[in-house]
């Protein structure tokens, strides 16, 4: 029966989708806000704030200097304007750059000592109790094995990693999975070697800001030849008001290793827009493979466009050596503004990059997202499958670059960008750049834009489904290729999110 359920999810939409839609009654599921006492740094950003963040994390001097270098660079930079995004000017001095739940100051002895609000947060996020204890930092909790779900979780609450589960078991396999602030202290040689090696400090305005002020994030190292025994997962949650969140994730897959990494994001409903600028760097060495899946469900703002997260994210994987492989899968349903281009540097010969994306923009949301595939090595392969859905008054743009360098002989790329429009007040845009600089490479790009097919909707309705169910079903079918690329853990959630995100788009 288990096997059967699996195959059915892979078919496309599941009954659960519909059930979840009903259960969630069409509102943003994660829109609660946890009442937790929070310790803030003063508003604004300057060298003192950068030093404070570094000090709070107990960082060595080299790290402080690294941040300061980035900050000085950032002060010289201008916010990029090329994306098809329209938002009020961000006052970078009117944000908090550091917020930490006070209860984390001292480790609690048991669950009873944990701030109940924090526990409630995890429960709402669907994290099992055992893991809740570990995340809440209960002493000794990490030693006793958890039953059931086998996903190691690192939770980042506002700017701070609040705990990582399954640490011991992962350690046995040689896998390092911890917050990046711990890694800076415990594995400085790895961090020094790889931090900023994929996304340089000066890469772009948002990445440079992140380099200066990131407070925490996750760190993963998979040693040579190791297949990570479980999925690794990070939950990011913004809770504190007016707080920018700047996580930094660094993943290193050493030769011949494998890891699947999941990232989930939520934020409470706020009237005021909140800033989020994360950086994810992935280094993949010879014959190693990394799968990175994201379900991004930051608060998108209300139907009038009030509030929501401004999401400016730099994600890049460096297939540094031969036969390295990376697969990005993203389901982007949240955020008021999305600026995000998970990219692949295909440097090793025969390396491979894949990008599977669903971007849904409803109401007043604006998304400008896509990928860059840079083919540098011989016989490198890339594949892009992007499904954009626009509804309400939203604007949704696919922006991508496929670049095949002269020396990347025998490279292959296939790109498929499909856009679906629901209603006549929204927009769907496709902006691909294609650069082919040798002739043994083959690059193919296809894109379509159309509206939800009336015949399909009528067919579904004539079989008894109401209009929203019909739309959810057809849209999930439209996204199927991408949903299939997600790990099982996420596939269900993603399907229901697709349905929820489109609530109110028909009728």
């Amino acid at each position: 029966m288990v096997a059967l359920d699996k195959s059915e999810v892979r078919e496309g939409v599941d009954r659960e989708t519909i059930e979840t839609v009903k259960a969630m009654s069409g509102t943003y599921k994660y829109g609660w806000n946890t009442e937790i006492e929070t310790e803030y740094a003063p508003k604004g950003v300057n060298e003192d704030i950068v030093r404070l963040i570094s000090e709070k994390n107990g960082e060595p001097e080299w790290m402080t200097d690294w941040r300061l270098k980035a900050f000085r660079r950032w002060e010289q930079m201008e916010e990029p304007k090329w994306a098809m995004l329209n938002y009020p000017k961000i006052d970078y001095q009117d944000q908090y750059y550091y917020a930490k739940p006070k209860s984390m100051a001292e480790k609690p002895k048991s669950l009873d000592d944990v701030d109940p609000a924090l526990l409630a947060t995890y429960e709402k996020l669907g994290i099992p109790l055992k893991e809740q204890m570990i995340l809440a930092g209960v002493e000794g909790a990490a030693e006793t094995p958890a039953e059931g779900r086998r996903v190691a979780v690192d939770a980042v609450f506002d700017s701070v990693s609040v705990g990582t589960t399954f640490k011991e078991e992962l350690k046995k396999a040689g896998v390092i999975f911890m917050s990046i602030s711990e890694a800076i202290r415990e594995h400085p040689e790895l961090v020094k070697k790889y931090l900023g090696s994929v996304v340089p400090q000066s890469d772009n305005f948002f990445a440079t800001l992140n380099s200066a002020v990131f407070s925490d994030g996750s760190f993963v190292y998979i040693p040579p030849g190791v297949r990570c025994p479980m999925e690794l997962s990070t939950y990011f949650r913004i809770n504190a008001e007016n707080t920018g969140q700047f996580e930094r994730t660094l993943i290193i897959a050493d030769k011949g290793s494998y890891v699947s990494y999941l990232e989930g994001c939520t934020a409470p409903k706020r009237d005021v827009a909140q800033l989020h600028a994360a950086v994810v760097e992935i280094v993949i060495l010879e014959d190693a493979e990394v799968k990175y899946s994201t379900v991004q469900n930051w608060f998108p703002g209300d139907a009038e466009g009030k509030g929501g997260i401004y999401n400016f994210v730099t994600k890049r994987a460096d297939c540094r050596e031969a036969r390295a492989k990376v697969m990005w899968t993203q389901v982007e349903t949240g955020s008021a503004i999305t600026w995000k281009y998970p990219s692949c540097l295909l440097r090793g010969d025969d390396s491979q990059g894949e990008f599977y994306s669903i971007a849904i923009a409803n109401n007043m949301q604006q998304a400008d997202t896509g990928t860059k595939m840079t083919h540098l090595g011989k016989n490198t392969r890339s594949r892009i499958v992007s499904k954009g859905i626009s509804a309400g008054k939203a604007q949704n743009t696919y922006r991508g670059l496929v670049s095949v360098h002269p020396k990347a002989t025998g490279a292959r790329n296939y790109t498929q960008c499909d856009s679906l429009l629901i209603g006549d007040k929204c927009g769907a845009h496709t902006v691909p750049y294609i650069e082919v600089k040798n002739n043994s490479s083959r690059v193919e790009h296809e894109a379509t834009t159309s509206k939800v097919d009336d015949d399909q909707l009528f067919y579904c309705r004539s079989r008894g489904m109401d209009e929203e169910e019909a739309v959810a079903l057809v849209v999930n079918g439209f996204c199927k290729e991408v949903l299939q690329a997600l790990p099982m853990e996420f596939a269900m959630e993603a399907q229901s999110l697709v349905a929820i995100s489109l609530e109110g788009s028909v009728g």
Binding site: L4, V13, R15, S462, R463, G464, M465, G477, F478, K480
Partner: protein, 251 residues
Amino acid sequence: MLEIKNLHVKLEEEDKVILKGVNLTVETGKVHAIMGPNGSGKSTLSYVLSGRDGYEVTDGSAVMDGEELLEMEPEERAAAGLFLAFQYPVEIPGVGNMTFLRTAVNAQRKARGEEEMSAGEFLKFVREKAKALKIDAEMLKRPVNVGFSGGEKKRNEILQMAVLEPKMCILDETDSGLDVDAMKLVADGVNALRSEGRSFLVITHYQRLLDHIVPDVVHIMADGRIVKTGGPELALEVEKNGYADLLAEVM
């Protein structure tokens, strides 16, 4: 079961009147056939009854078991027990056939206040129905109608009918595009569903389908009206002499 009175329909976007006063009563448990030349309004009748956009009802009514169909949304008609087997079944890429069926069944059950079926129960239920129609498990996994042959699409329609268990079934040119063997398979499927509580309205251009699905009553439709009604022999008469003679006689 179904009572259509004085039904007048025009195209929504054009001044083209298609149905000009259709009167028709299908009794519970009976099989009625509508025959007629191309353009007589047969398919329009099936679309209007199932609630497709693009048509405007200017007069008349269609009542099923005491409920006015024409005021309902398509899904409400389905939940009330109406089923249209499409002449051209729609392809829905990415949506598994099984998923589609289960979503439809549960939506209807829910609308009727019935318990939803569990995944296990449902699978067993569908597999049995599919077996009778020679639909293999592979076809259930594929996306709805995508890449199906003409025969497979029509069998899939009958499978949906079997699974959804409607009380009023409309078959719109179900024989079109089928060879004799495929038609027989489809007809066997339909015949297996004939029961005391279920009525059928079989729309067809040719008599040949009616050799396999033998109707109780045959209507001839022309220029948006039912122009003649009789027993199965009427179909044979059309087969023998064509529509022209018949129409010349009545009009």
